[in-house]
């Protein structure tokens, strides 16, 4: 479906151009009967459920990556490289944890991401605060199969988030743009 430059319609105005191209993807759209029972979304959800047997190992790998990134911080301090890797490891857990069945780990990871993004100076962040986040994720991932872990993990994640928010609010008291970003509502449905 290569673009046909000759088919572009360009309208020029004082400060902008409006460019309309014929929709090259319209050919993939087809009409089906209302009674069509094929449901690609349901099929995809089943396929995703079929992957769930691997989620525990994947989550463990993500948690190990986070631990390794934290170990690098402890060994070499907050360099551009070590800070970036810690953030990416936490960021990936934040995005994947719910899918993998570890929502509380996602909450803790998000809290850690917020610390990394919004702390004025990472060297000034109390090291136990970061360590508690990393250790909490390890614990949540390791202990998930135990019956009482759901409520415990939830309580742990809420408390950590509260402590982190208090720290960030104080550290950013003179940086309103960061306060706004820290306390703005999330766009993720259900949050």
């Amino acid at each position: 479906m290569a673009r046909d430059k000759r088919a572009l319609q360009i309208e020029t105005f004082v400060d902008h151009q409006l460019i309309t191209q014929p929709n090259p993807l319209r050919k993939v759209l087809r009409r089906v009967a209302e009674a069509d029972l094929e449901d690609p979304v349901a099929r995809a959800e089943m396929a995703l459920a079929g992957l769930s047997g691997e989620f525990k190992d994947w989550m463990s790998a993500e948690a190990d990556r986070l631990a390794a990134a934290h170990a690098a911080i402890l060994a070499h301090g907050f360099t551009n490289a070590t800070s970036a890797e810690l953030f990416r490891a936490a960021h990936d857990i934040k995005g994947d944890a719910i899918t993998f069945g570890y929502p509380s780990a996602g909450v803790v990871a998000e809290s850690l991401c917020r610390i990394i993004e919004h702390a004025p100076d990472l060297e000034q962040v109390p090291s136990p605060l970061i360590a508690h986040h990393v250790n909490a994720i390890q614990a949540i991932v390791a202990e998930r199969t135990k019956l009482d872990t759901i409520s415990t993990a939830g309580e742990l994640s809420r408390r950590l988030r509260g402590v982190a928010d208090d720290y960030l609010a104080h550290a950013n008291r003179d940086r309103p743009e960061h306060l706004e970003a820290i306390f703005a509502p999330s766009i993720v449905p259900g949050e």
Binding site: E11, V28, L29, G50
Partner: protein, 181 residues
Amino acid sequence: MFRIDFNKLRFLVCDDNPHMRRILRTLLHSFGAREVYESEDGANALEMYTHYVPDIVITDWSMPIFDGLELAQMIRQPESKGNPYAPIIMLTGHSEKRRVTVARDAGVTEFLAKPISAKGLYQRIMNVVANPRPFIKTKTYFGPDRRRNSNNTYIGPERRVGGEVEVMQQPSLLEKARSSI
């Protein structure tokens, strides 16, 4: 009711996380897609974009060295060798509203916050297939029209000057098809 023939679409997926690439590949294959190309970084994705000419790009934001935002900006270069009009769906763990604005201003077509869902991904793909937006070129922007809704009362500094064509109401493909019944 309308369905997409995914076997006629070519996708480029860009994410540095192999688990997420596996999930996306599984979802797209389940929808019926047969051509799904994968890249683990933005620079390689840009090369693959030029080489394979995908119909739709699905990219993560946060990647080392060359991230999804830069990938979108490079794709949207109007003078680039590749097609600057391909829909770009950004799938990301970033959940702050300001991120949506930043992605939009980089030329991203659709934004999908993780956790990923089959329904959410399908809806975004349906949207770019059935409701394509015209592109806007200004001194500082080239990409899909960023307006979701018309607002004739806006008189701020970003009001574009366009006379009677200031607001374009474009019926979607679905609406056109239904009206032709």
